[in-house]
């Protein structure tokens, strides 16, 4: 097991270098001069521009810029944004917000998605199942900004259950509404995935054997159907958690959540290389960790899967 984890961590090194290099190159290759753009409508002062270029190493060749950046990472220096803020500070402000949002969202997905999916699967073809399928289809079809606006209007403005937008503090309570919006689409997929998986498992021979032992229906569902059905769902949830952690640009935009998605979007627009690459670097690391945890979780749920020895 330890050997397996070590191998996975070693595999992460080329992935990490490859993705950062690629992202750095893409930001570098973006059209327009970010320094010129900083002056806005005012005339460009060549001396100041050269000074800024030197400060941000923009006068160096691409590969040197990249190496300076990577070198900085190893001593904990994520670089500085054009507004003069250390990128590390921006990361420290935005990631906790997004992590809170992602965790809330995941919680809704698990409770609502798996719950409805399980009941649907056990009552295949009954009215509950049919209405759950129709509802999930509606949520899959609607673009997320439509769901966001409808929820914002209905629950926040009409009913007044929540604030329409999130404050700078972005505490747990304020994030509930955006988290529900963010979860809706995944919930729809989880309902369908759980349902299909439950139907599949309930048909297995070992379920009949479990009944033949004299077990009650409740125990068979909990012990023999649910756990086996959750294996594919857990994989989906873990990947989805990774997606949630790297931010939701649209939902964060609509609810004014000061999270990763919105900040990254703005950094890309401004062509701030170090900021963009730093965000992506953290995201890549999150993805790698989440993926590793998924695989370990998978092995914990299914004893047939064993990595190394």
């Amino acid at each position: 097991m330890f050997g397996y984890i070590l191998r996975r961590v070693l595999q992460a090194i080329p992935v990490f270098l490859g993705t950062t290099l690629l992202i750095y190159f893409m930001v570098f290759a973006m059209p327009g001069d970010p320094i010129v753009a900083l002056f806005g409508d005012k005339g460009v002062n060549p001396a100041v521009a050269d000074q800024l270029r030197h400060q941000y190493h923009l006068d160096q060749p691409f590969i040197v810029q990249y190496l300076i950046y990577i070198g900085g990472l190893f001593v904990g220096d994520f670089g500085t944004s054009f507004s003069g803020q250390p990128v590390a500070n921006i990361l420290a402000q935005t990631f906790p917000v997004t992590i809170r949002l992602a965790m809330l969202s995941l919680l809704f997905e698990m409770i609502v998605g798996i719950g409805i999916g399980l009941v649907s699967g056990l009552r295949k073809g009954k009215w509950f199942d049919n209405s759950a399928l129709v509802m999930s289809l509606i949520f899959i079809s609607l673009p997320i900004f439509v769901i966001a606006f409808v929820f914002q209007f209905f629950f926040a403005i009409k009913l007044g259950w929540a604030r329409p937008t999130v404050s700078g503090a972005a505490n747990w309570g304020e994030l509930i509404l955006p988290a529900i919006v963010l979860a809706t689409v995944s919930i729809a997929y989880i309902i369908r995935l759980t349902r299909a998986s439950v139907i599949d498992t309930a048909d297995q021979d070992f379920v009949r054997t479990a009944y033949s032992k004299g077990l009650s229906r409740g125990r068979v569902v909990r012990v023999h159907i649910l756990r086996n059905s959750l294996i594919p769902v857990v994989t989906f949830l873990a990947v989805d958690f990774g997606v949630l952690l790297v931010g939701a640009t649209v939902t964060e935009g609509i609810f004014n959540v000061p999270g990763v998605g919105r900040t990254l979007y703005q950094a890309i627009i401004r062509g701030e290389g170090p900021t963009v690459v730093s965000f992506v670097t953290v995201m890549v690391l999150i993805y790698l960790v989440v993926n590793l945890l998924t695989d370990l979780l998978y092995a914990a749920l299914d004893p047939r899967i064993r990595y190394g020895k």
Partner: protein, 562 residues
């Protein structure tokens, strides 16, 4: 024996709703079973034998429902019983041993957990330690000597035979009055089958448990049960003491079944008995005796010399350990004859077939086909050779592409080898369908619409499309019901004499070998332990291993007409 039967089924009706209306799977079944008795229900797939068994404990698959009749168990009516009543009966009073040991244990829970669960649910023991001890005891009795060590292991770490022992242990864990065993050993090797059934006999005799044994194997049924019920299309066609039914079948279906059972056919041969072929459409004895008279002495078509196959098994880290699947195997097959390669699972027989077909590389040794060493061939020559050597595999469900219609399936080898024009290919397909006795109307249908026997005929037609000299039959009849099996064996025999085919027939079923093969090689752990003509092997086996295999054929101990 008590006055009242333990189980009395009266006029049982079971229906499965389908889009085209309800299908009646069990139609008016009556049977009685007294305490301590063993009753076998025999029939082919779809006869309703398993459905009857499942109906007793109300575990019908899908939307199946008991629509009429009564099941009286120990004075209690089970038809229409509440869920709570049924939970009380299941496990505690009626134990159930399912068919397929591979799929009947939950893969994500340890074996110990699944046994302990049954013990706890039926109140056999309470308290962590007692339950654990009871579980060990149950598994020991079921034949797992090292049960205490293996409780924590998962089903995939057990062999098929071991898993079946676990399932038998679970079925008997609460000392039920009745045990229903649904084809408990049909997925296992014959020798394993015998030990497991012997063990089951012992356990049930000890406790006076009644047993309902569901099986498709007439020989097995007769050997293990006093009472026999033969089912056909949802109805009981014949019932009574098993010896009587076997020696003097009354119903035409039972007669056909008796004639087609390969285990009994081979027994009849050695007993020097003959059955007039007028009794049935498919009489394996007739096929076999016809074979014996045709002694063809041709030149050698296939020659294997010291062929070995070594796989490297991935171990911990980067190390790998070599595993010898086939260990210097040598044999010759003469043209127009059949060589049977027999062995239990894991004996390496299928690996030999794969190497012959060029699907696996030979580690050492040589395979010579018609004087050509296969390993010296280049890609083009190998392609040409493959056209002359065709396989038929075990599973007629898995070996046909479900999205290709029958005509295209049969024509595929012709297309691959660029044989003929479109019209010529269609003509050839028509000819092939005729050879395997399938109507032309089947050509536009899809594999899913055919029965198992029809599919295997299609697979044979596809194998014959390129007019090969050699056909490799890998367990080609193992998945089929006895009657269908008999038909396919007869077809293979006819095609062989008609087209001068050379067969390599791979099987675990010695009973089938008797009727189809001229020569036999018995394989065990990658090596050939005994080789010789079929009659020599069957009449005077020199190796203990072969003797064990022969003894394990169900029905082998029954003396017909004696």
């Amino acid at each position: 024996m008590s006055e009242q039967p333990l189980l009395r089924i009266t006029n049982l009706q079971v229906e499965f709703p389908t889009q085209g209306g309800a299908v009646r799977a069990v139609d008016g079944v009556n049977l009685e079973l007294f305490a301590g008795q063993t009753l076998a229900i025999v029939g082919e797939s779809g006869s309703g034998k398993s459905t009857t068994a499942h109906a007793i404990v109300d575990l019908l698959p899908g939307a199946g429902k008991v629509t009429g009749g009564s099941i009286l168990f120990d004075g209690q009516e089970l038809v229409g019983a509440t869920a709570a009543q049924l939970e009380h009966v299941r496990g505690r009073q009626i134990g159930f041993v399912p068919q397929d040991p591979m799929s009947n244990l939950n893969p994500v829970w340890s074996v110990g957990f699944q046994v302990e669960e049954a013990i706890r649910a039926n109140g056999v023991a309470t308290g962590k330690q007692e339950v654990r001890e009871a579980a060990i005891d149950v598994l020991r009795k079921a034949g797992l000597a090292d049960a205490d060590r293996r409780l924590k292991q998962f089903p995939h770490q057990f062999s098929g035979g071991m898993r079946q022992r676990v399932l038998i242990g679970i079925g008997l864990s609460a000392n039920p009055k009745l045990l229903i065993a649904d084809e408990p050993t049909s997925a296992l090797d014959v020798t394993v089958q015998r030990t497991i059934l012997d063990h089951l006999d012992e356990l049930t005799r000890e406790k006076g448990t009644s047993v309902i044994l569901i099986t498709h194997d007439l020989g097995l049924a007769a050997e293990r049960a006093e009472q026999l019920v033969v089912m056909y299309r949802g109805k009981i066609v014949e019932s009574g003491p098993s010896r009587e039914i076997l020696t003097n079948p009354q119903h035409p279906y039972t007669k056909r079944l008796v004639a087609a059972a390969p285990s009994l056919a081979s027994r009849r041969l050695t007993a020097g008995l003959s059955v007039s072929s007028a009794d049935s459409e498919f009489d394996l004895t007739a096929v076999a005796s016809k074979r014996a008279s045709q002694t063809t002495v041709g030149e050698v078509a296939i020659s294997l010399a010291d062929v070995s196959k070594v796989y490297s098994i991935r171990g911990s880290g980067f190390k790998s350990t070599p595993f010898t699947a086939v260990d210097s195997v040598s044999f010759d097959i003469k043209r127009g004859t059949t060589m049977a390669l027999v062995g239990e699972s894991g004996s390496g027989k299928s690996t030999v077939a794969k190497m012959l077909l060029g699907l696996e590389k030979v580690t050492s040794g040589s395979i010579v086909i018609d004087g050509q060493d296969v390993s010296s061939l280049n890609a083009k020559e190998l392609f040409a050779l493959r056209g002359r050597m065709q396989p038929v595999f075990q599973d007629p469900y898995g070996s046909l592409d479900p999205l290709r219609n029958i005509a295209n399936t049969i024509a595929e080898p012709l297309v691959t080898h660029h044989v003929g024009t479109r019209a010529e290919r269609t003509a050839r397909v028509r000819e092939l369908l005729e050879q395997v006795s399938l109507p032309w109307s089947i050509s536009s249908r899809y594999p899913g619409e055919l029965s198992g026997g029809q599919r295997q005929r299609v697979a044979i037609a596809r194998a014959l499309a390129l007019k090969p000299d050699i056909v490799v039959l890998d367990e080609a009849v193992s998945a089929l019901d006895v009657l269908v099996q008999a038909q396919i064996l007869q077809l293979l025999a006819e095609l062989q004499s008609e087209l001068e085919l050379t067969y390599l027939f791979i099987t675990h079923d010695l009973a089938v070998v008797r009727v189809i093969a001229d020569e036999v090689c018995v394989m065990n752990k990658g090596q050939i332990v005994e080789a010789g003509t079929t009659s020599r092997i069957f009449e005077s086996p020199t190796q203990e291993y072969t003797q064990n295999l022969l003894d394990a054929i169900p029905g082998a101990n029954i003396r017909l007409g004696a």
